[in-house]
């Protein structure tokens, strides 16, 4: 398998901290998602860890908003809050 040593040019502690932070934030998002689903049914939302900073009807609109406003979406969630999820991943 292609397992490798962690390279010296990267900061291992910062990498691990970042991974823990990202996972914690996503788990928090799962907790608040039901409330957001009620408030923004069938909308695409951009969530910054505390609140929804943009909501729109389509993914294309969301991408346009992010590009036009030059938003860095790291540490944010982009989600389609389907009230009747039909899109399956196969």
């Amino acid at each position: 398998m292609p397992r490798v040593e962690f390279p010296s040019y990267l900061d291992k502690e910062e990498t691990l901290r970042s991974l823990r932070r990202s996972e914690t934030m996503m788990k928090h998002y799962f907790k608040v998602r039901p409330a957001l689903l009620e408030k923004y049914p069938d909308q695409w939302i951009l969530w910054d860890g505390e609140s929804v900073i943009h909501a729109c009807d389509t993914g294309a609109e969301m991408i346009r908003h992010i590009r036009e406003n030059n938003i860095n979406t790291r540490n944010m969630e982009i989600d389609h809050l389907e009230t009747n999820p039909t899109r399956m991943i196969l």
Partner: protein, 135 residues
């Protein structure tokens, strides 16, 4: 041990940090575990975070899925996972990662395929909310 989690829809995820050494950029990615995927891939949501211009990527290839074929770029990448109790250590892999820049993949999760999963023994129990990977 690497510990994963289940999304609100019950999908199994593990966080990994993707680094593209050729560009010196990294981002954290919630990977969907996919034993049906021959190789790991990033979709639009995460390729856009890496801020690598599509024009600087080469090695374009067609990747087939259940939904049909799509164009991906293959790029050498390192993927790092938090390992051990409390995630205090790391385990890293060098792979050829498939990158999609198609807007149409915005709603799709990035996938962790067998290029990495084959190195792990995985305990999976949705009923017990348990997702653990041993090396």
């Amino acid at each position: 041990m690497i510990t994963g989690f289940f999304s609100s829809r019950g999908r199994p995820y593990i966080y990994g940090r993707v680094t593209l050494p050729r560009f010196g950029v990294s981002t954290d990615v919630p990977f969907l575990l996919d034993t049906g995927a021959d190789s790991s891939c990033l979709h639009f949501r995460h390729t856009s975070e890496l801020v690598v211009p599509e024009s600087s990527l080469g090695n374009e290839s067609s990747v087939g899925g259940i939904g049909g074929n799509a164009a991906y770029y293959r790029e050498p990448a390192m993927v790092t996972f938090a390992y051990g109790s409390g995630g205090i250590d790391e385990v890293s892999y060098n792979i050829d990662l498939a990158l999609s820049y198609s807007d149409a993949t915005l709603g799709l999760p990035s996938l962790l395929g067998r290029d990495i999963l084959d190195d792990w023994h995985i305990e999976y129990s949705r009923k017990r909310n348990l997702l653990r990977c041993m090396i």
